[in-house]
Amino acid sequence: MGRSLFDKVWDAHVIADLGDDQYLLHVDRHLLHDLSGGRGLMELRERGLDVANPELCFATPDHAVSTEPGRADLTDYAGKRLVNGLRESCAACGIRLFDLDDDGQGIVHVIGPELGITLPGVLLVCGDSHTCTHGGLGALSWGIGSSEVAHVLATQTILQRRPKRMRITLDGRMDAHVTPKDLVLYLIGEIGAAAGVGHAIEYAGQAIREMPIEGRLTICNLSIEFGAKVGMIAPDDATFDYLAGRRFAPAGAAWDRAIAEWRTLASDADAVFDREVAIDAGAVRPQITWGNSPQDVLPVDGRVPDPSTAPPDRRPAIQAALDYMDLMPGTPIEGVRVDRVFIGSCTNRRISDLRDAARVAAGRKVAEHVEAWVVPGSESVKRAAEAEGLDRVFRDSGFQWRAPGCSMCVAANGDRVAPGARCVSTSNRNFVGRQGPGSRTHLASPAMAAAAAVSGHIADVRKLGA
């Protein structure tokens, strides 16, 4: 029987089969950040244990750092404690840290790929659920809790049950103005927020093969939003082109040897999956969420659901979400007035995302009642965007151009949406209180977010003709 991409990478990392589908696996790359990384390191030091392989660990502060332009060192007391804790522990344990204003600093899931820390076929973990992002390069990666962080630090291994395998085939060609974010939100709406629980996902099909790497990272990033810890895409020439010459990627003879291995990772033609899903990418329109789960998603020309016409078991959830989001049943989502716009997060803040948003913003002004932010994903994305003048486009339109960090996706650094305020956000979660207590979040692509900013309400980017 043939093996899938997932099987090949998993099997290559098995140190011990512990029986009953439980395995001890080697961790090739461990990313640490200020929220869970510092805590895991502290736990290890309290136990008097050393970090097994500090050279395989990379750390950066992202969650609790200020994104104020020209930021002072730290945000508030929580951020100060967390960031200083990470600094101190990394120095004590010999772990490389990309600190504020270093070229490598940024959101862990942005810097991993762009520095070539993330590679095809590696097993990569991080104490953050969006670690599935790295699967866009063909890594086997998933998010872990802080106890697991301590385990990885102490042993460079992880205990894990082998998940089931699901292949999601995205065939067809996406329309203009439809982005990878729209495609994956649509997918979650179709299959539901729990469809991927217990599964490792492989994304395949024409739309994936033709998709640039940054888009693949966005697709894999949202795997966890339908319950899958792991999302992967087979590496191909586009992957190798993306990685060639990156700071920590192999070079010279090692690069040639690595590529030879990476070319063998794609699923065999007779690989078997526990579940197969097929989606027509050509049928997808620009998407926007209306509720408090990423599965609560609509095409932008759609209407908010009406609980009275929904299946009885869905009515309470729909009503609760409408109440929280302050939306009337059956209203068109287009035209709903917004207060904030956030372009950023590990989902959508790479250079291509910023270009998409800038095309919409160029020559237009952010509506007077809207506060709109652009938060680049990393110091290097920020510098690249500034080199091509994107910061100027955003600033001229009335957006704030900020310093890199997780910012208003997770609201751990004081960047928050006020209670009751409505935000169109390029992030990954529209949960109750996610962007601050009482905040109301609508998830969308960078272009849709920019369209909302300049329109003052949820708007159909296709009508703006950008």
């Binding site: 080697h26 809790g145 460079q156 998940p163 729990a194 966890i224 070079a251």
Partner: protein, 206 residues
């Protein structure tokens, strides 16, 4: 790790689907408070009204379910963020067992690391336990692998054997894995030969 063998007490039904870890412990609370203070804020958006008063409809605020050590949950409980503080917050609220038809995978693992037992059952069984719960205490017995609801026959459940053993004996996983250090070193030695780029990481900017 805290051992788990058997728990008896009220089983509170909280059947809303997709309760995420941001809802189980909001970010600002986990930043502002230490581990042992998180229970006050567990499930805060559901437990309290906007003015800070208790939501009387919240299951754990009803007389039959106050101090319940068992939570019967809706599908996909604990989805979202990997924050282990979600488990700590539930522990602070007194929860030792969560029962549901599915859990967020990261949350599920985090439970075992902290002596909380997550039990997956089919949706009908979850509904039956929830229906029976108001009549009295429920007993969850990990050694026997059974849940005994009030006035009903016991039902069986499975948990992964290694995690079951770790909970019953209160084993420490880091200690257990460190006993395999020779295997780990041998794996890495083979890896340095077969996949040297994993271990010899260049820094072209240096």
């Amino acid at each position: 790790m805290e051992k788990f063998t058997r728990v008896t007490g009220p089983a509170a039904p909280l059947l809303r689907q997709n309760i995420d870890t941001d809802m189980i412990i909001p970010m600002q609370r986990m930043l502002d408070h230490e581990r042992d203070a998180l229970g006050r804020f567990a499930l805060e958006p559901l437990r309290f009204n906007g003015d800070g008063s208790e939501n009387p409809e919240f299951p754990l605020h009803q007389p039959a379910f106050r101090d319940a050590p068992i939570l019967i949950t809706g599908r996909n409980f604990g989805c979202g963020s990997s924050r282990e503080t979600a488990v700590w917050a539930l522990q602070g609220l007194g929860i030792r067992v969560v029962i549901g038809s599915s859990f967020g995978d990261i949350f599920y693992n985090n439970c075992f690391k902290n002596g909380v037992l997550p039990i997956v059952l089919d949706e009908d069984a979850v509904a039956a336990l929830a229906a029976a719960a108001p009549a009295g205490p429920t007993t969850v017995d990990l050694a026997a692998g059974t849940i005994r609801p009030p006035n009903r026959a016991a039902i069986a459940f499975d948990v992964p054997p290694s995690q079951r053993a770790a909970l019953l004996e209160g084993l420490d996983e880091i200690d257990m894995t460190r006993r395999r250090l020779d295997d780990i070193r041998a794996f890495q030695a083979r890896g340095r030969e077969a996949r040297p780029w994993i271990y010899d990481i260049p820094d072209t900017s240096a």
